[in-house]
């Protein structure tokens, strides 16, 4: 039964990046079915202030109820915190295909973050690392804006967290 639930969750996409599922994003921490048949899903936000959280909860509920699960309980948990390491390999591939550079591994620490941004991020369009940070903030909380000096395209990076 758990496997079927995971499969259903695979069909729920991230509202801000529709090509990727909530499972590939790593925001589902676990699923369980209790004795009375209640499906319990625990999920965790990427960024604490993510405005898509409620929409994702509604989408998850709709997907499960649509498949016949009548009792659905969704818990939002903050521990362990979401990190960009939770995005699956498949998820990273889809991010790139979508034109969003996948997050590089996070070293931690402010200086670590500084170095990362100075370090060349691979352009999702031409793979060149001759790129520069334009702004650590972008159109959604989880994105930063870069520019590729090679193919002269602006692009976005999914921020490492």
């Amino acid at each position: 039964m758990d496997a079927q639930i995971w499969q259903l969750l695979e069909s729920v996409s991230d509202p801000e990046i529709p090509v990727i599922s909530v499972v590939d994003m790593g925001i589902i921490q676990g699923v369980a079915v209790s004795a009375d048949g209640t499906v319990q899903v625990s999920m965790t936000p990427t960024f604490a202030g993510c405005p898509a959280l409620e929409m994702m909860q509604a989408d998850i509920r709709a997907a499960l109820e649509g498949a016949g699960y009548e009792r659905v309980q969704i818990d939002v948990v903050l521990n362990p915190p979401w990190t960009s390491e939770r995005i699956s390999t498949e998820g990273r591939r889809k991010l790139k295909e979508f034109g969003l550079a996948p997050p590089p591994p996070m070293q931690g620490g402010v200086d670590g973050a500084m170095l990362l941004f100075l370090d060349a991020i691979g352009c999702p369009f031409c793979d060149s690392t001759n790129t520069r940070l334009e702004s650590p903030f972008g159109p959604t909380l989880c994105r930063a804006i870069y520019y590729c000096n090679n193919c002269h395209q602006p692009f976005e990076l999914f921020k490492p967290l």
Binding site: A48, L78, M106, F137
Partner: protein, 242 residues
């Protein structure tokens, strides 16, 4: 740590975030360049999310009212923010300096609270520390950038002078002082150790002025004005369904 002290601490954290987040949002549409419009709007959204996380702990674990009521129905004298977070949007230099001083304080504070014995606080601290990193990176970049010409460096120095006593005021002792390393004196020491080299390297003077404490004093006119604007719509009909 007793319950009264925990409630006091959580209100300080939440109210600082909510008010500075509101001030950040006032740059939406009018920041000097579009990247900063986006940056301040994003930071506003982050800070609101963090305030919500703290208010949720207050509600679910410490017996306080639901988050929306805490944000929109409390009176100015019930807020525990430091005056720094409510200062109005004035010169760009003051905005950047406030951001730098505040984000640095949050950075060291969250690093410390990640080990806090009150688990819900430790979990939230670990969660949002990673997000705040980007705020600090942003402010730090601007501090260095605006030290490049004499005019901008002088204007920044004036802003540092105006804000310094309020920045020190962030570290006012709470209703019941916490044990080291969670006490305000230790956190302030870590904050100074983080920002002093950055200020000096950029060519700024570190002021010698002393703290203005404001968390428990009569509400500042800035706080009153901010809350009147922020709470206005909610208070028209507190039972409205959004």
């Amino acid at each position: 740590m007793n319950q009264v002290a925990l409630i006091d601490l959580l209100f300080r954290l939440a109210d600082d975030e909510l008010l500075v987040g509101h001030r950040n949002s006032e740059w939406t549409g009018v920041a000097p360049i579009i990247e900063e419009d986006i940056a301040f709007s994003s930071m506003a959204q982050d800070e609101m999310g963090h305030a919500l996380a703290y208010y949720t702990i207050l509600h679910e674990r410490l017996g306080q009212a639901p988050p929306d009521q805490l944000a929109f129905l409390r009176e100015p004298h019930e807020f525990r923010n430091a005056a720094l977070t409510a200062l109005p949007r004035r010169d760009w230099s003051e905005t950047i300096v406030r951001q730098f001083l505040y984000d640095a304080a949050e950075h060291v504070r969250l690093e410390c609270y990640a080990q806090h014995p009150f688990e819900p606080l430790a979990h939230v601290a670990r969660k949002i520390h990673g997000e705040e990193k980007y705020h600090f990176l942003h402010a730090r970049t601007w501090m260095t950038r605006l030290a490049q010409t004499d005019e901008s460096r002088q204007r920044m120095q004036v802003a540092i002078g105006i804000l310094w006593p309020h920045a020190l005021g962030m570290f006012e002792t709470g209703q019941s002082e916490q044990d080291a390393p969670f006490d305000e004196a230790s956190i302030m020491e870590a904050w100074l150790a983080l920002i002093t080299p950055i200020l000096v390297e950029a060519g700024y003077q570190v002021p010698s002025s002393t703290a203005i404490y404001s968390r428990y004093a009569a509400p500042t006119p800035d706080r009153i004005e901010l809350l009147a604007a922020m709470q206005k719509v909610y208070r028209i009909d507190p039972n409205a369904e959004w």
